[in-house]
Symmetry: C2
């Protein structure tokens, strides 16, 4: 695997282009333009930032160019996109995100006001290229990085972040729990063109010396402020883990499998008090709205096994999350809802139906779901199946799972495998929903396939290098790599070749 | 990757056991018994034959032990399982397949008679361990092997066959089109404990010198007889590619993508005659019933791109396949129906619904479907998504797709990746359908996970070696591989550990 922390991404056949704003003339919205051998072009969504723009100089120590200060400098008080949208103001962020999706900015503005679309964009993340998460848009994927007490370092995490963006992550969560949490996050945000999410309870627990008993609301609050100031774009907050739900989770096969959920449940038990994320929820809203940090309301009681799917613990929490979304919206704080987990295929639809009903249209952001428990070593695949299904039903963002899930922290290759698998799930969901950009992409690929335009096929697939290498490897040194067939069928048995003969 | 053509498979934690028949006392039905560290045991379905039984001596040149001659020697005339079942006779094959699935042999007998379950078991494949394909049973997967004019050799194909069985293929199709077709197939059948399928038109075309114009019914008929005598268990026959449907397929983005379909369409065009597989269909039935070769009615007009899914060409052919199934049943010839192909998620259900309606309950056997066209290099994943979905709806067998699909012939590693991905899809489908054996397997895994019984988790997953290596790799040399947490969260952040503390 190639390490490329300080160089531009080399993406075969990709040309960086920008489209200017019409309302905000100073915004330049990136696309990846692919020119095919028949002179046709296709422009696809591009989350890779200036890492794929050779005209921009990169310096990991200085961070990415500031593109948002001029947009945000006059903002104060409640600075959320939802706040502006509810006044009918189309911010540069809204127009930017709309152009990326070939969408009407006015309609997007209404959807942000309504809460069914969110644009996670902390005013202090000035390097960000704004993007939208919602069921009417391209399905997004998130990549998790972060060190733990057992492994990793800052430079490795930065490398994983760049690697994630290289392969198409739309957002990145820094789940660090070990040493140097603040410094790791600073380096990540300053170099990230995509929204960064965190789970602040992790750092709060580190500040409390790793002892759950010593966690307090004050430590947590200060951590939120610290991270919001740095520019984190969304926080996972497990405010739905209520004391009364914990007994439900104790009846399960695999208990609580969310780290944040388990920490807060244990805190409630030790202190015999309600979850402070719940009791102080409006205080949290007050912090978030000053920076425009979005909520990702965490599913601390998500099922961690097929046996626990769709159980009372899970759905009780989901109902509370729906209520909290309404409270957040009262403060104009943008909100999405996290979802499971491990769910068999026959129980996936109920998750989406209940989320739509209980959470009033707030975007759904799921981890998989993994459709079996026995896939260790291949859980990127068990997750991709559930993710594609729930994505096709309207889930707005899919959290990736890597082959190392349940076994250990992923390395760079695992990150790539996880991202590509979930890009496939997201794209399959977009096709299923009939998204015109997704359909155009597949049609361009199939046209190239039927015409034996191999180079065009490579340019149009998710991993041109691997596709090219696979085709070349399949030919032995003795046989020529002919253009009008492949080694699967050989020259006499190529169905597409015969099809073309029939057509003529 | 390890090459193991002449040695027994080493499968971690697997012990070969046999359960004896009650009706037929001389049958011994294999299972994989896994003994866990808490003394509990679980017996799972085992398609690996005596390759995983160290008590049986292996000799690739002699082939596997004959287990069926004594069952079949007195049979003559119409020797199909459907024929006996329709008389209410529970054959050794029926009892064997029923025991494997923990199913009532009497009910299976009725289902075979009815055509909704098939037991592909050529009387000349005496090495076969009988198994059943049908929607009420564990979802099966097929692996394709076979040389082409461009690559491969007999020994490599045998190695791929063993490798397929090693990782859990339930049937294997030999799709050879190059040299030594007869000898390759002979070696494969004599060493295969699982049903072997072929597409006889490939060898027929080779006999015609590779020129479609020179193909004749007589060459094809003789090829069927040759292969049936060898012991092939099922034939893909593209009898539904009718002349009148070809114009529909010519309107498509990617035409005809089935090799057999393209060959027969071209033949019809050259000769201005109807497809001889259709006009001679009852002659074919007469051959198949003398050996009990099952039909796999090929979908020569399956869609090869998202744009072509569920189109008039595809569904016109499906209707014809349903009619042909009835004709086959008139002869008591066992029959399954092949399905697509490339289909977006939102159009998958219509495929299953139409198949159920038009094909009178004959088992459905699909290739994927692949849910996007842009996954080259990762098409085992695009296929797994569609396969899991259509499997959960009742498709009985899933044909695997490897990462090399659309690019070239798979190597051994591609075969493994393709099989494991589709085992996951099949298992996810079984969980979705509520199959008790599948649920027991996942529950055992999740119990082991919650109790930090790592060795048990490895034994219970699809690839113990990879899972173990992944866990070990995640720990740096400095940190010990502790039993009660993993490197994902480290000791203080393990949600399961905290869950257990709460429970106590």
């Amino acid at each position: 695997m190639q390490s490329q922390p300080l160089t531009h991404f080399k993406i075969e056949g990709a040309e960086k282009i920008y489209i200017k704003g019409k309302i905000h003339k100073n915004i330049r919205v990136p696309f990846r333009k692919i020119t095919l051998s028949n002179k046709k072009t296709i422009s696809i969504y591009d989350p890779t930032g200036v890492y794929s723009d050779p005209k921009v100089k990169l310096d990991i120590k200085k961070g990415l160019p500031d593109i948002r200060s001029s947009w945000t400098k006059s903002r104060s008080g409640n600075v959320t996109q939802m706040h502006y949208a509810s006044k009918g103001i189309i911010t540069p962020e809204i127009e930017y995100a709309a152009i990326r999706e070939n969408y009407d900015p006015k309609i997007l503005c209404k959807e942000v006001a309504q809460g069914i679309a969110i644009i996670p964009a902390n005013i202090n993340h000035v390097e960000l290229e704004p993007m939208v998460i919602g069921k009417n848009f391209l399905t997004k994927i998130n990549s998790n990085i972060g060190n733990s007490a057992v492994s990793s370092s800052i430079s490795l995490e930065i490398e994983k972040m760049l690697w994630s963006i290289r392969w198409g992550a739309d957002t990145v969560m820094d789940l660090s729990t070990g040493a140097n949490i603040h410094e790791t996050r600073e380096a990540i945000i300053r170099n990230s063109p995509v929204p960064i999410g965190t789970v602040p309870i992790y750092q709060a627990l580190e500040k409390a010396g790793g002892d759950i008993a010593d966690l307090t609301w004050e430590i947590y609050r200060d951590t939120l402020i610290e991270q919001a100031k740095q520019g984190v774009d969304y926080f996972t907050v497990h405010a739905g883990v209520l004391r009364k739900y914990i007994p439900y989770a104790m009846k399960r096969k695999t208990g609580i499998v969310s780290r944040g959920g388990a920490i807060l449940a244990k805190w409630c038990q030790i202190h015999k008090e309600e979850n402070f994320c719940y009791t102080h929820f409006e205080d949290i809203c007050d912090i978030l709205k000053q920076y425009d940090v979005a909520f990702s309301l965490g599913d601390g009681l998500r099922p961690g096994s097929i046996a626990d799917a769709n159980d009372p613990a899970q759905f009780a929490e989901l109902k509370t999350l729906g209520e909290l979304a309404k409270t957040a919206w009262k403060h104009d704080v943008q909100t999405m809802i996290e979802g499971p987990g491990h769910v068999p295929i026959n129980k996936i639809k109920e998750n989406m139906d209940k989320q739509l009903k209980l959470c009033h249209g707030a975007p759904f952001y799921t981890l998989g779901p993994l459709v079996t428990d026995i896939g260790a070593g291949y859980d990127h695949i068990t997750s991709t199946i559930g993710a594609a299904i729930i994505g096709s039903m309207g889930t707005a963002m899919l959290c990736y799972v890597t082959p190392k899930e349940h076994l250990g922290l992923p390395d760079k290759n695992d990150v790539k495998e996880g991202i590509i698998a979930h890009k496939i799930a997201a794209h399959a969901a977009d096709l299923s929903k009939g998204h015109p950009m997704a359909i155009a992409h597949d049609n361009a690929m199939s046209d190239a396939r039927f015409a034996f335009r191999w180079d065009d096929q490579f340019k149009l697939c998710l991993d041109p290098e691997k596709a090219r290498a696979s085709r070349n490897a399949a030919f032995s040194s003795k046989t020529k790599c002919e253009s009008d067939h492949c080694s699967m069928c050989g020259p006499n048995f190529c169905s597409m070749k015969i099809s073309q003969m029939i057509k003529k």
